[in-house]
């Protein structure tokens, strides 16, 4: 199903189109937004402002991108808090942020997911137009990497409308060339772009209550410890699992009871989440790892274990049954 575009020209009559994207560092969100900005700039009458916001400077950390487009020079510099269009590049990012926060009812939502627009609209309680695209699958097929930014870019460009397909495609490829991507990879991106265009689905839904997706008022910082170090660094307060790379989780398995009790994993884990029991002969034996909340997949245990008992295993974000009504 192809989507009805936003009608860019009427949107920009006397106002500014504002967009926001949520994802994780290393997931291609910045490239997608830079490419969208480049696409907008092909119209000489448009003023465009695009920038990212990084949290922790590491792969997997939460990241936001912003885009403003206007017929007039853009002076405002603050973050976009009431976007007309919101992109969720990575479903796992939605564990930490409400990607729909501040989007007015009737806004546009673009989600990189295998799920349908209706499933997403119900799950995230969205009112407005919802476009979905299985971008990671497209990435895996054409780019040998589960990265959905090509498809997300196409889905957002589709949602906005107003640009011929050739321009949408070529603008993205130009962004890649600017980054000196080899021609062979650019050819595969071209195929991914074409496949993405056919994979975008959309629908209009009304699942949000009036109070949904309103920004909570800032309540101040509360009592921070002197130096603000321990509480901010330790995962036990901070859900650092949200910083893990999407699509993977740490797995521990020791079917042959090979753990030597060297304790390298225990001492190297920055989050203190390796489980073990005392052992008379080996001092200790590792029994597992709590990956649910605090494992950020730093890979220290994988690197230090002499028996190779830790691995990164593929993982798909799970929704409970009641979150995905039939």
């Amino acid at each position: 199903m192809r989507s009805t575009p936003l009608d860019l020209s009427s949107l920009l009559q006397g106002s500014t189109l504002e967009m926001r994207g949520d994802g994780k560092a290393g997931g291609g969100l910045v490239l997608a937004f830079q490419s969208l900005a480049a696409l907008m700039m092909t119209d000489p009458g448009l003023h465009v402002q695009e920038w990212p916001f990084f949290s922790s400077a590491r792969r997997g950390a939460g990241i936001r991108s912003f885009l403003r487009v206007s017929r007039n020079p853009v002076a405002a510099s603050c973050e976009v808090t009431r976007p007309a269009l919101s992109l969720l590049m990575d479903e796992a990012a939605a564990r930490s942020v409400d990607f729909a926060e501040g989007v007015p009812h009737g806004g546009t939502f673009v989600i990189n997911t295998r799920r349908t627009p209706e499933q997403c609209a119900r799950h995230f309680r969205l009112t407005g137009r919802v476009l979905t695209v299985a971008g990671d699958d497209v990435g895996t097929r054409f780019l040998k990497h589960a990265i959905g930014n090509v498809s997300a870019y196409v889905a957002v460009a589709t949602a906005i409308g107003g640009f011929p397909w050739e321009q949408v495609r070529d603008s993205f490829l130009a962004s890649l060339r600017k980054r000196r991507i080899p021609e062979g990879l650019i050819a595969r991106n071209r195929e991914a772009l074409e496949a993405s265009a056919a994979a975008v689905t959309s629908g209009e839904f009304d699942f949000a209550a009036d109070a949904d997706h309103r920004a909570a008022p800032f309540e101040g910082y509360g009592a921070l410890p002197v130096g603000a170090q321990t509480a901010l660094r330790l995962s036990q307060k901070n859900r650092t699992a949200d910083y893990a790379r999407s699509g993977f989780r740490l797995r521990f398995a020791d079917p042959k009871d090979a753990c030597t009790g060297c304790a390298h994993c225990v001492t190297n884990c920055p989050e203190g989440i390796i489980r073990f029991r005392p052992d008379a002969e080996r001092v200790l034996v590792v029994t597992g790892v709590d990956v649910s909340t605090f494992c950020k997949l730093c890979g220290e245990c994988i690197a230090v274990c002499p028996e190779k008992l830790f691995v990164e295993a593929p993982y798909q974000e799970a929704w409970t049954e009641e979150e995905v009504p039939a």
């Binding site: 465009v48 002076a75 405002a76 510099s77 008022p217 800032f218």
Partner: protein
């Protein structure tokens, strides 16, 4: 033509201040060897780091780029390195050094040896702090051909923060550099083209530190108009003359001399005078830039909402890209409150343009100063503004606010809360020495 046939005889000149070797660097050959990046005016897409890099690459006097990467200025060095590498037959070179202190030392040596060439680098936060031992000396050295681009990031701090906050540049006010703040890609590009003209002016001879906010400007993309290289050269050559020696005991030994306190004061006085002379030269360069390229040139500040000889109720003084949010909401705020509100976005931080700020703010009933860097007192900008206003017979009330520390977002709600807080001064109420604002509330 072989190099030998064009080589000029070396001319050794002794001056009261030291030695010059006039033809060691053949400037005309350096100029002729420049490969233009742009032959005509173009509009490109760029973020702040790229805009800064393009400006330095287009100068024929820039042939050596020393640097050490640090977030958020890294892309300046990356961009320069890529462009230099692409130009296989070019004479420009990048020197990646082992640390920022080494970069600063390298700049001293190169700039002292080749006083008619420009030596740029870019750094941020602790990178600038690591340079401190040398930047203090550089500021006094007279080496106006050094341009240290500071991509603002909260300075050495606990906890660390990688985002844009001008506390790094403001912690280095006394290094002796001419510090110019920019906002937006075009202003970054234009300022870097003009900065060496100011620093290398024979009356000024003071290194420059143009700067812009990390992330908020360094990573924000927008349109950028780039000028043809040859027009940039013509503009710069109108201002940059063969350099006289700086006022050192021995001009060939730029740093490291030791003097008695009696003479130390004398050197500091001369340094201060050169720095303050930039207040006269800067507007002239800015005006010439505007005549040449049709865009505003260097200025003490950007003015918004001032009407000729008309009083304003509330004046805002701030700096950086967040001022744009104020600029955008100001008309609506005026309509809603019935107040006349105007603003100054500071460009020249050091030396602070006291006279110009006093003349402008004398027409205001109250002044809201928005500081974006941690300060033990009322704020760096607040103290400068209060000092500028101190000689007025009935100075406006100064209200001090902090917002955006560590590069935090300064939202429309935050701006409105700050403006509302400053209105208390208009109503004659007592205001606290300072308030910190975030997400629309005072903390």
């Amino acid at each position: 033509m072989s190099p030998e046939s064009t080589a000029l005889p070396m001319l050794h000149v002794s001056t009261p201040a030291g030695e010059r070797y006039e033809t060691v660097i053949d400037l005309e050959r350096v100029r002729a060897a420049h490969h233009p990046l742009y032959r005509e005016r173009q509009t490109v897409s760029a973020d702040g780091n790229v805009a800064a890099a393009l400006a330095t690459l287009q100068m024929w006097r820039c042939i050596l780029y020393a640097g050490f990467p640090i977030t958020p200025s890294t892309k300046w060095l990356e961009t320069v390195a890529v462009k230099v590498a692409e130009d296989a037959h070019g004479i420009k070179r990048v020197k990646l050094l082992e640390a920022e202190h080494a970069v600063a030392d390298y700049l001293v040596g190169a700039a002292a040896a080749c006083r008619d060439l420009i030596f740029p680098t870019a750094t941020s936060s602790v990178g600038l702090d690591h340079m401190t031992e040398t930047t203090r000396s550089l500021g006094a050295s007279g080496l106006g051909n050094v341009m240290l681009i500071d991509v603002y990031r909260a300075t050495a701090n606990f906890p660390l923060c990688i985002e844009g906050d001008p506390s790094d540049t403001l912690a280095h006010r006394d290094d002796g550099f001419i510090q110019i703040a920019c906002r937006g890609k075009q202003q970054i590009y234009d300022t870097i083209l003009q900065s060496p003209c100011l620093g290398m002016h024979p009356d000024v001879m003071t290194p420059t530190m143009p700067g812009f906010y990390g992330i908020k400007d360094s990573h924000r993309s927008a349109r950028l108009t780039v000028e043809p290289d040859h027009e940039i050269h013509e503009f710069q050559d109108r201002w940059i003359e063969p350099c006289q020696l700086p006022g050192l005991i021995n001009g060939d030994t730029a740093l490291g001399n030791c003097v008695t306190s009696r003479f130390f004061q004398g050197f500091k006085l001369a340094q201060k005078r050169r720095l303050e002379r930039s207040l006269d030269v800067l507007p002239m360069i800015g005006a010439d830039f505007e005549r040449t390229f049709g865009r505003p040139g260097l200025a003490y500040f950007d003015s918004v909402g001032w009407r000729e000889a008309e009083r304003v109720d509330l004046a805002v003084v701030s700096m950086g890209p967040d001022f744009g949010t104020f600029e955008a909401l100001r008309p609506d705020y005026e309509k809603r409150t019935g107040l006349k509100v105007a603003g100054l976005a500071m460009r020249l931080l050091t030396p602070f343009p006291r006279e110009a700020v006093r003349l402008k703010l004398a027409n205001a009933s109250a002044v809201l100063v928005v500081n974006q860097a941690h300060h033990v007192g009322r704020g760096h900008l607040t103290l400068d503004v209060a000092d500028a206003l101190s000689n007025l017979p009935s100075p406006p009330r100064v209200v001090s606010a902090f917002a955006g520390l560590g590069g935090a977002d300064v939202s429309e709600d935050t701006w409105e809360a700050m403006l509302d807080g400053a209105r208390e001064a208009l109503d004659g109420k007592r205001t606290p020495p300072w308030r910190l604002y975030h997400e629309g509330r005072a903390l």
